[in-house]
Assembly symmetry: C2
Homo-oligomer: 347 residues x 2
């Protein structure tokens, strides 16, 4: 940056330009654009006119520097190429922009190393808050955010120690509906393709499934519990493993929709039909699920609700108001029946 008296030209458009054009002090301009009520209406009008004519807008860096608030929010997700997350991002962005925030996105790709890098990026940009929408998070990262007084929201299963920065999801409800649906159709041999199990919430989905299966009076078969990785490839590979088994299940539940789509692909490749040969249930209800062939029966977790709950909670922590932070309702899940489930093949 040039330090010379005036570096020649370019008297950069600043609050000062507005002040002089409106013939008021810079303080008055500042108060006007920050909607402080005590400012005289006549002057305010002059200020707004000047702002408009100059097409001025405040320098957010300077604002951030002095206020200590960057108006930046971090959003850490697992994998941006999994359509569930873009849908989530879209909701986040909407709410954030409405409230004057921008979003910094970090994609971990399921690697703890990358997760750490993302967290560091968030730190360096001094985000005002972070939403961690991955399937799990390391404790030490949470601690680090906490030690910097950065509010953090993350997803987890409902717990009896309701720390309000946890957004709890009731995975069981939807999975239970799914299992019941399958049982009602006559399925007794149900496989489950999980997500990467080192992630808490992937594990939570799997335990919910096992729990439900037992409640339905079905004894789970270890052979039919496959670990996937929440990707298309993972779903395909897992299904191929299942097909290689001597004793086949009649229905497959998946930890997310991408896995289910991978399964559909594997079955198509093997010339097997859904739902005639296998029933299939996904999880998430991404928009695409309605468009698979055949349309996917899946457990819906409203990412709209999720994003809004996360944002509400995050923002309420940023602007401490008198209204108490209400204990968050758990996010609910429910079955959406489409066309990948049917009675088991009479074998």
């Amino acid at each position: 940056m040039k330090r010379s008296p005036n570096q020649g030209f370019t008297p950069r458009l600043s609050i000062r330009s507005v002040a002089s054009r409106a013939r008021v002090s810079i303080a008055t301009v500042s108060r006007t654009i920050n909607h402080v009520s005590t400012v005289n209406a006549v002057l305010a009008a002059r200020v707004w006119k000047a702002v408009d004519e100059l097409n001025y807008f405040p320098n957010s860096q300077a604002r951030a520097l002095v206020s200590g608030k960057s108006k930046l929010l971090g959003l850490i997700i697992s994998e941006i190429t999994n359509p569930f997350f873009p849908e989530l991002i879209q909701e986040f962005e909407k709410v954030a922009v409405e409230r004057g925030y921008e979003i910094l996105i970090g994609s971990t790709n399921y690697e703890p190393k990358t997760m750490e890098l993302c967290a560091r990026r968030m730190f360096e940009r001094q985000v005002d808050g972070v939403a961690i929408m991955t399937f799990g998070i390391e404790q030490f990262l949470l601690d680090r955010f906490a030690s910097d007084d950065v509010p953090v929201i993350f997803i987890d299963i409902p717990s009896k120690h309701p720390r309000s920065d946890i957004l709890s999801v009731d995975y069981r409800a939807g999975i239970w509906e799914g299992v019941q649906h399958l049982a009602a159709l006559g399925h007794r041999k149900v496989a489950f393709i999980s997500g990467p199990l080192q992630h808490r919430s992937a594990g939570a989905r799997k335990s919910a499934f096992l729990d439900c299966i037992r409640c339905a009076g079905i004894k789970p078969n270890q052979k039919w519990l496959i670990e996937g990785n929440h990707t298309l490839e993972g779903g395909r590979d897992a299904m191929q493993k299942i097909l290689a088994l001597p004793d086949l299940p009649t229905a497959i539940m998946c930890s997310n929709d991408m896995t289910a789509i991978g399964v559909q692909h594997a079955l198509f490749d093997a010339s097997l039909k859904i739902p005639e040969d296998f029933s299939l249930i996904g999880f998430d209800d991404i928009h695409l699920a309605e468009y698979t062939i055949p349309p996917l029966t899946t457990v819906q977790m409203s990412c709209k609700d999720l994003a809004q709950a996360a944002m509400t909670s995050l923002l309420s922590r940023l602007q401490p108001r008198k209204d108490k932070v209400e204990p968050e309702e758990p996010i609910t899940t429910r079955l959406v029946v489409r066309r990948t489930t049917g009675p088991p093949k009479a074998s």
Copy 2:
């Protein structure tokens, strides 16, 4: 922000803390962490030690304020829920983070209004550069960026006035391969479902198609030129319109893969088979295209190439080096044959 002498406590971790701990001036600290070569090795070591012990990192707001560089890059896309864009974002993010930049994402949802809002957001955060990866952009927005000396990169068709801030895509090459492929299979009746035609590059894809069709000696039929909107729904609706026609085409080309997936859905609903009843070709080659049922034959536009070319060009404009900005090669496109094309039904 409290203005009282010391607001009690919290002597915020700053470059000053490091300076006093390393027993040097803040200027020396600054030069050290910015890798200015003239700094004495002994002092540098002391500084790095202090940095490490305090776990210090510089405040990016302050940096941005004084340097005039926000190290923020804008990325404006059409629609984050179209999987093509997340794939693009992923590449962008990778390159950007490597170079110390963060990305601000704006999704226009094809609305000029929203596009304007996005541009404004970018302005307010004083991004150092913007990549506009939508299917078109208003001239006045480009002008505004230009008047603020913000480098802009956007996509367009190859033109004889190669302004280096245009990333040109050779849509024709891939579409030509697609048309030839169909013609070779015996198709003479080919429909095209375009994107929203107010967008330049959607229009470009359509003209490329018309051009290729004529070159292949086929007379295009106006009835088979449907305007879609690059979404699943748009593809489905367009296909339903086509199915209502008295004279049916035998093959469908789509302006993007999402449209093609919508077409597959409409055909599935109508109990029509691909490729037996209709051949289908998409555009983009999103990752999902390999996983549709049947796997989608499509024109590949490497979003990796696209993102990297965009970033390279953008970054080279940010750090003007001696090495001349090479004239960008147009991004190429090519056909990927999978299983949605076959000979036309003998009617």
